[in-house]
């Protein structure tokens, strides 16, 4: 009797939940799971002579990835994404800290300022960068006219400019999750630490940093994953000379028409992403996922 009455409400509650989850699940299956499966499927197929996909199973694409030419690009991309992430966090953390310690209304304004470039069209922004830094652009004109350098510096189409472009592009993704965890850090914890004899540096290392770690990890994921796959920044600021994994994938699906190889590289990116998220869920509590 009692067990039946306990089971009843459960059954009743399940239906609305299913009704709500249903469309979402359907959406996910149609637009995420199926395309993903298709990518994995293609990555194990062969390339036809005319760039079509031949449905003949092979692991050829995966062996190609290990080929030094591709492998170097993969390592270089991982490196670039890693450095971008590191710098975004090193710059973003103090930035987020300062914002979080401002009164709420000032903080909101600062966040908006941070987001404005992010809301502008990225192609426009990148073109502006090119104009600024090109050989006869304002930056070089300034440097030459004021005697800082003898002749214009070749900023554009270099790894360094790509890096700067990546960092400025990704910085908001680091600042936002950092801000949201630092903002939740209670001031009284810092005071308690000082009260117990810790100076500012010790308090930072022993209290602030560990408590805001979930924010740091969110920032890592939010910056690292897109920087690894992004190709607009590298394409435009690198002028096609600087090749990252994102550009190669894009080219395989586009100009070169080697879909299986592009798919295999995509699978590699997905695996790296899943690995990171797996580590994240192991180390941070599930509730902190909302930041991502």
């Amino acid at each position: 009797m009692s067990s039946a009455s306990q089971a009843m409400p459960k059954k009743k509650n399940l239906l609305p939940k299913m009704a709500m989850a249903g469309p979402v699940s359907l959406w996910m299956i149609l637009f995420v799971t199926i395309p993903l499966m298709y990518i994995i499927f293609i990555s194990f197929m062969s390339r036809g002579v005319f760039g079509d996909v031949l449905y003949k199973p092979t692991t050829e694409s995966y062996t190609t990835i290990l080929d030094p030419t591709y492998f170097k690009v993969i390592v270089k991309s991982l490196q670039a994404a890693g450095i971008t992430t590191l710098l975004c966090i090193l710059i973003g953390y103090p930035f987020a800290y300062i914002i979080a310690r401002k009164p709420k209304d000032v903080a909101a304004k600062m966040i908006t300022l941070l987001m404005i470039p992010f809301w502008t069209n990225s192609l426009m922004r990148l073109n502006a960068w090119l104009l600024l830094f090109q050989t006869s652009g304002p930056v070089n004109n300034f440097l030459v006219n004021f005697g800082f350098v003898d002749k214009p510096i070749g900023f554009i189409y270099t790894d360094e400019l790509v890096m700067i472009g990546l960092i400025t592009n990704m910085l908001p993704f680091a600042v936002l999750p950092l801000y949201s965890t630092i903002e939740k850090l209670e001031k009284s914890l810092l005071e308690a630490s000082a009260d117990l004899g810790a100076d500012a540096k010790t308090t930072f290392m022993k209290v602030t940093l560990p408590i805001t770690f979930p924010g740091i990890f969110s920032a890592i994921i939010l910056v690292f994953i897109p920087s690894l796959g992004i190709y607009t920044v590298t394409d435009m600021l690198g002028g096609g000379k600087v090749m990252y994994i994102g550009n190669i994938i894009k080219n395989q699906f586009g100009a070169i028409r080697n879909w299986p190889l592009g798919a295999a590289l995509s699978v590699l990116l997905i695996v790296i992403t899943m690995l990171l998220i797996f580590i994240y869920t192991r180390f941070a509590k599930i509730e902190d996922m909302e930041v991502v």
Partner: protein, 360 residues
């Protein structure tokens, strides 16, 4: 005071144009349990934070053991604080929370272990050493917060409404535990609360604050029985307070004219014509069905309020003021709506000087 451990001299604190603490002078004796008592917003927390070093005094000096500390950072002062919201480190176990101060001071591991274990035992939290703060109840968090501060053996422990978040029963129990702990360790406690009953129960001395002003600094008995200001009389316990003017003085007995009528009180330091306040506790207020010499307070019985250990009777005076008296049992000699004369023994009432705003 020659054994004073904390001295505040002429301390003023301003936030912008808002003066939150006004010319505060306070000496706290070694081993004393001193309570800062006052309504919310009167500047208690601010005062405590100035002693701890989290706020800088706008004027005046603060000394710990005779040494000025204004230029010392919180971590350089030999006082520890128990925060109102506990402020336990969420990422550390109970053990590591308590060990924090000792770890910072690079106390040897073995000694840390020993002292933390001793503290855990003292606050009866030994079984919880490995837990994180979110796995503890409010009362347990409170114990950890106290242990975390006490393990450093501070000269002075500052406590900001440490029991504020606990339910009544647990609060009463912790009040007694804390008081015993303080006696046993002989550490000076400066305790902030807005709960007058808590202050009366625990303190050696109470500093009653109001609007940033120290109104009275005395023992609980003195505060209760001889309030020096109208505010203290009203804030500590329940009291009936009359405002009036001395119209006659015979020996030490004053006859005071108020809006409700005349009344009597003992007041050697008062002169005829002086404006003043008179406070009478409910337990001393009496009613009579016939007029009483020296008193012309008349009213009607309003209602009886049962409060468990006492029954209060409310009386509406003719001038519009309501007074209350309390007895252990309901007063059956009168009934609701009955006309009565209010009086008391003049020595039971307290004569209070009228002060100009701001002066004490």
């Amino acid at each position: 005071m020659n054994n004073s451990i904390i001295t505040l001299e002429g301390v003023v604190k301003r936030f912008g144009s808002n003066v939150v603490v006004k010319n505060l002078n306070l000496e706290v004796a070694q081993g004393e349990f001193l309570t800062l008592l006052g309504p919310s917003g009167c500047g208690k927390t601010t005062t405590l934070r100035m002693i701890a070093g989290f706020e800088e005094a706008s004027e005046g000096t603060i000394k710990v053991e005779g040494e000025r500390v204004e230029d010392k950072e919180p971590f350089q002062r030999n006082v520890n604080t128990v925060f109102q919201n506990y402020a336990l480190f969420p990422h550390m176990t109970v053990f590591n929370n308590i060990a924090y101060g000792l770890t910072i001071k690079k106390v040897p591991k073995a000694e840390i272990n020993e002292r933390v274990t001793e503290m855990l035992r003292m606050v009866q939290m030994e079984p919880y050493a490995k837990r994180k703060p979110d796995e503890l109840s409010g009362g347990q968090k409170q114990r950890v917060a106290i242990a975390r501060a006490l393990v450093n053996r501070p000269k002075v422990l500052l406590l900001d409404e440490p029991l504020g978040a606990l339910d009544l029963k647990l609060r009463k129990q912790m009040q007694i535990e804390l008081k015993r702990l303080q006696k046993k360790l002989g550490i000076t406690f400066i305790y902030v609360t807005h709960d007058q009953e808590e202050a009366l129960t625990m303190s050696d001395r109470i500093a009653v604050m109001h609007d940033g002003i120290l109104e009275q600094l005395d023992s609980p008995t003195e505060i209760y029985e001889h309030p020096k200001t109208r505010f203290v009389a009203g804030f500590i316990g329940e009291s009936n307070i009359f405002d009036g003017k001395v119209v006659a003085k015979e020996g030490d007995v004053l006859t005071v004219e108020t809006a409700e009528g005349n009344l009597q009180v003992i007041g050697p330091d008062f002169a005829v014509g002086e404006e003043m306040h008179v406070s009478i506790r409910p337990e001393y207020l009496e009613v009579s069905t016939s007029p009483v010499a020296g008193f012309t307070l008349e009213g009607k019985i309003k209602d009886f309020i049962y409060q468990g250990s006492v029954v209060k009777t409310a009386v509406d005076l003719n001038g519009g003021m309501e007074v209350k008296y309390s007895r252990f049992e309901q007063d059956n000699s009168v009934s609701e709506g009955e006309k009565v004369y209010v009086c008391w023994k003049p020595e039971k009432a307290v004569a209070i000087k009228k002060f100009d705003q701001g002066a004490v």
